[in-house]
């Protein structure tokens, strides 16, 4: 899967971080189901910031607890960035 939509890129970041096939990462997959603790979560957010060249604010991080929440968050941050 080499798609370039935001959701495909996010899923690829998750899959690479967890060292699992992209097929294992579903939008409704939660951090808990992936076995993430707080430090894993921070490291994943860092990988996403690098991938999308974004700053993800601390309060936004609090609301990212599943793959779909991350996708929504990144989409809104990218939209805001493109408007700026």
């Amino acid at each position: 899967m080499e798609g370039n939509s935001i959701s495909e890129k996010v899923i690829r970041v998750f899959a690479e971080f967890k060292k699992v096939p992209v097929e294992d990462i579903k939008p409704n997959t939660t951090f808990e189901e992936l076995g993430f603790d707080s430090l894993d979560g921070l490291n994943l957010i860092f990988e996403l910031e690098e991938e999308f060249d974004l700053v993800i604010p601390d309060d936004k991080v609090q609301s990212m607890r599943s793959v779909s929440q991350v996708i929504e968050g990144i989409e809104s941050l990218l939209a805001a960035k493109n408007e700026a």
Binding site: S38, F46, D58
Partner: protein, 404 residues
Amino acid sequence: MKRVVITGVGVVSSLGNNKSDFWDSISSGRSGIGPITKVDTSDLRFKNAAEVRGFQASEHFDDRMMLMLDPFAHFGVVAAREAIADSGIEFDDALRDRTGVITGSCLGGKETEDAFFFDLYANKKSRVPPIAIPRSMSNAVASHVSIEYGLTGATFTTSTACSSANHAIGQAFWLIRQGTLDAAIAGGSEAPICNGNLKAWEAMRVVAPDTCRPFSKDRSGMILGEGGAMFVLEEMEAAMKRGAKIYGEVAGFGMSADAHHLTMPLVQGAAKAVKAALDDASLVPEDIRYINAHGTATQANDPMEANAIRSVFGDRADDIPVSSTKSMHGHTLGAAGAIEAAATVLGMYYSVLPPNANFTEIDPECRVNVIANEAREGSINAAISNSFAFGGLNAVLAFKRFAD
């Protein structure tokens, strides 16, 4: 076993650059937290820290020493000099032989490394000065103090993140108690405010955008601070024989490892260290009348610490005044235990319990008796000071009011 007393105190901090100014600020609940001035914060998500102000290192050190010392060593050495002068201790050859220097530092000379590595990577320089290594080594303070005063007893540095200084003071205490040393200069210092290190803390997402509100419902994280505190510890009989002023007794030390997680602290690990300190001091929970909390004001620490306190003290915790003085001097990492020991010991000495500043409303998850915003008068006989480090390494000191 021998008893160990504190006969000298020295402090450099955002609350003042000597013991008296520090105590005046802390006992009146003034916070040293403000906008960061040492580095440009335009690209940082947090803008505040507890910086040392009005401290001119060149007033304390000649040009040659200025070349050799990182700011963390300025703070440590100046605090040690104040503690030694305050104690009135006079070193003869026999005492120098049996006095050690034991210091805590988490980061060592991080400002030095940051500046020299910037030269390499950004300024494309091909070399750094030969002083880079001696200036940045974490044991620099221990070494400089030992050289300056000719102290040749057991001398070393502990580096256990936020517990460094408590581990250092605890080791110094035990070495005197067991008779290995007669006296020690012990404490910690830290200078964490450089760009590389602030960026690393930003990535941890635990630094508050505003200020440090330990145990408060609206807390939003920790605030970094810089500074140092040092003590002269002496074997009690020797101190009494020379008529030394005695601030208090180091009564016990306890440590433990969570064996759990690098950044998520564990109630059981913290409680184990508190219990170990009480046992080591032959104190029972009823004796403790003040707790200087680790109290970082992060989401993770404060409820964990409150639960650890409750697990050791039970419902008695409702009546034990607790404050985190980090609300005023910030989290000084490897210096934290030392600056907080100064707050605790001076508090006992002056019968004033330092407050927990910036407090609005208790977090129901943190069921402790917080000394909200204003110091409390109170003559107490025993207190503990907690340090719980990243990596799950815990160190707790127990102090007693001195009575021979």
